[in-house]
């Protein structure tokens, strides 16, 4: 068989099942690709021996006719998921060489279903960032290049930038990711891949390094909609160890791929047509609506009046929760420790040197908005506005809308160093279209919509009713069918 890294996850599954390919061959091909692609800096830790041992077991199981749903399929794991016996960093210096003695529930589900794990993928430190530039292990480079500008290093988005770049560069069949304000969907849009942020509670958060617990959700990044459906089917499910995980059966998501979307009502929210929206993004949005209409869906204009408050609300709630969650990094129980005069001095020095500047900034903002005298004015007010943002969606869905269509990001990917250097808020604006979904706890998917004039990918976002990921998979598959073929980047980064 020619290079098996060109297969989709579903195609690889079928090739293994029909024994046209062995799991060891498939895994070795990905290990070779990873070794030749270190220029992209996708992985913090590579685990080739582990992956090959898993693949060997898969081949034995396939021979015995005991295949599991993801048998022998090599995946990448965002380094925010704890992996038993494998260094887990959250892309932060403060975790040092932390090696969990347990496995996160979601990655354990993937292992239970037979996946092979190639290693731990780079990300923004503690998942705080939109470009992967805040990683303590250096930025990830996107396999995509701007037309006529081969020297600019394009960012893969963030925080799941290692995941999106590794999937786009064919270093793994799919990758786990997490999304707190857009960290699955924005990197997927930037790299021409598919990213699914499930409904809050659909996947267990247990064993995933916490950022903002009321917003964080695990989800997959893959190259096709079907692949995302297959992966989510294994990742999702009830977990008694996460009280917010929902005790509801996991539907057959793959069956929703290719299902008719005839008669579905798709809301187009007028408030997303923000000031200064580029003509290219506006045109992408229109054509996305036209594709769904051609597939039999009905397009209706809707109003989500509190949209413009979502990002400011996020920048109170997420740092507040982060400042509380990250209080655990104190140099006592795990990770790095700096010596100090006394215990407080030890804490302060450990945290000053262990955390990067974006993380320190967010902890300080969070501490401020939770501090005495400011709690009501900032934090409680933000929680009230969050109620209003959620109510907007509740009312849209109550009026009979099945899903909402928006652009995924306000622009294509940019180059390293181009955004946020002078003003952190400039970087935060990347999440303007995605963050509402986390605020309301809804499922969202980013699906490729084509290429911009600069040669970089653009993504569309679909937002669904709570726990109706199936409708999103059907609609995203309809868009995937309609999009003209996207020319993928040639592997300029590969060492021969």
């Amino acid at each position: 068989m020619s290079d098996p890294t060109h297969l989709s996850l579903a195609e690889a599954r079928d090739a293994l099942k029909s024994k046209r390919l062995s799991a060891v061959e498939l895994t070795q091909a990905h290990i070779d690709a990873i070794e030749k692609s270190r220029a992209l800096n996708c992985f913090i830790t590579e685990t080739p021996e582990r992956a090959l041992a898993q693949a060997l077991e898969s081949d034995l199981r396939i021979a015995r006719g005991e295949s599991r749903p993801l048998e022998g399929l090599p995946l990448g794991i965002k380094d925010l998921y704890c992996s038993k016996g494998v260094r887990t960093t959250a892309a932060s210096r403060i975790l040092d060489d932390f090696t969990p003695t347990y496995e996160s529930t979601v990655s354990a589900n993937l292992l239970r279903d037979g996946a092979a794990t190639l290693g731990k993928l780079n990300l923004d430190e503690f998942a705080m960032g939109s470009s992967n530039e805040t990683s303590a292990f250096g930025p990830v480079v996107s396999p995509w290049r701007r037309a006529g500008d081969p020297d600019a290093k394009i960012v893969p988005g963030g925080s799941s930038g290692g995941s999106s770049a590794a999937v786009a560069a064919h270093l793994c069949l799919g990758a786990t990711a997490t999304d707190t304000g857009g960290s699955i969907r924005q990197p997927a849009a930037f790299t021409g891949t598919v990213g699914v942020k499930p409904t809050y509670g659909r996947c267990s958060r247990w064993g995933i390094v916490a950022f903002a617990s009321s917003l964080d959700q695990a989800g997959p990044i893959t190259r096709t909609v079907r692949d995302a459906a297959i992966m989510l089917g294994s990742m999702a499910g009830h977990d008694p160890k996460d009280t917010t995980s929902v005790d509801a059966p996991v539907p057959d998501y793959e069956a929703a791929v290719g299902a008719s979307v005839k008669g579905r009502r798709i809301g187009v929210p007028k408030e997303y047509r923000i000031d200064g929206m580029s003509a290219e993004i506006a045109a992408l949005w229109d054509v996305g609506a036209a594709w769904l209409k051609d597939a039999g869906a009905e397009i209706v204009e809707i109003s989500l009046p509190h949209t413009r408050y979502a990002l400011p609300t996020y920048y109170i709630i997420a740092p507040a929760e982060a400042s509380s969650n990250l209080a655990r990094y104190d140099g006592v129980r795990y990770g790095r420790r700096e010596q100090g005069r006394d215990v407080t001095d030890m804490y302060e020095k450990t945290r000053a040197t262990g955390f990067g500047s974006e993380v320190r900034r967010r902890i300080m903002i969070g501490t401020y908005v939770l501090s005495a005298g400011y709690y009501d004015a900032y934090y409680v007010r933000a929680q009230k506005v969050r109620s209003l943002i959620k109510r907007d969606f509740d009312e849209a869905f109550a009026s009979g809308v099945d899903a909402v269509l928006t652009p995924a990001t306000p622009s294509t990917a940019f180059a390293q160093g181009e955004k946020g250097a002078a003003d952190p808020v400039e970087m935060y604006l990347n999440d303007v279209f995605t963050v509402t979904v986390n605020m309301a706890g809804l499922p969202g998917v980013a699906v490729p919509g084509g290429l911009a004039a600069n040669g970089l990918p653009l993504g569309l976002q679909l937002i669904g009713r709570p726990f109706d990921e199936e409708t999103l998979f059907s609609l995203a598959a309809a868009i995937e069918q309609a999009v003209p073929k996207i020319e993928r980047p040639r592997p300029w980064w590969r060492e021969s």
Partner: protein, 95 residues
């Protein structure tokens, strides 16, 4: 609202993050940029609106109050920067 340099120092201490004198001005600028950005929320009418504390309405799950885990002291201590027997070691706290 905006913060002055004394407030920046107070927040840093509350956050248990040491800062150099030379950092205070830059941090003040960055924190004030974020506070200016979120200031827009003050124009929203939130009278009678309940704060949202759970993304989706869900009942808090309860389980029987029994021991379900334990006996893993070595696992818990495995990543400690400094330990002695079955204890985490910290700088002296009590004089």
């Amino acid at each position: 609202m905006s913060v002055d340099s004394a407030t920046v120092r107070r927040i840093a201490h509350l956050s248990r993050i040491a800062i150099e004198d030379s950092e205070v001005e830059r941090l003040r600028g960055e924190l004030n940029a974020i506070l200016a950005f979120v200031e827009t929320l003050s124009e929203v009418d939130v009278d009678g609106i309940e704060p949202l504390t759970s993304a989706l309405p869900m009942q808090m799950k309860k389980r029987a109050d029994v021991v379900t885990d334990g006996g893993i002291v070595d696992d818990i201590l495995a990543n400690a920067p400094l330990r002695e027997d079955h204890y985490f070691v910290v700088p002296k706290v009590i004089e």
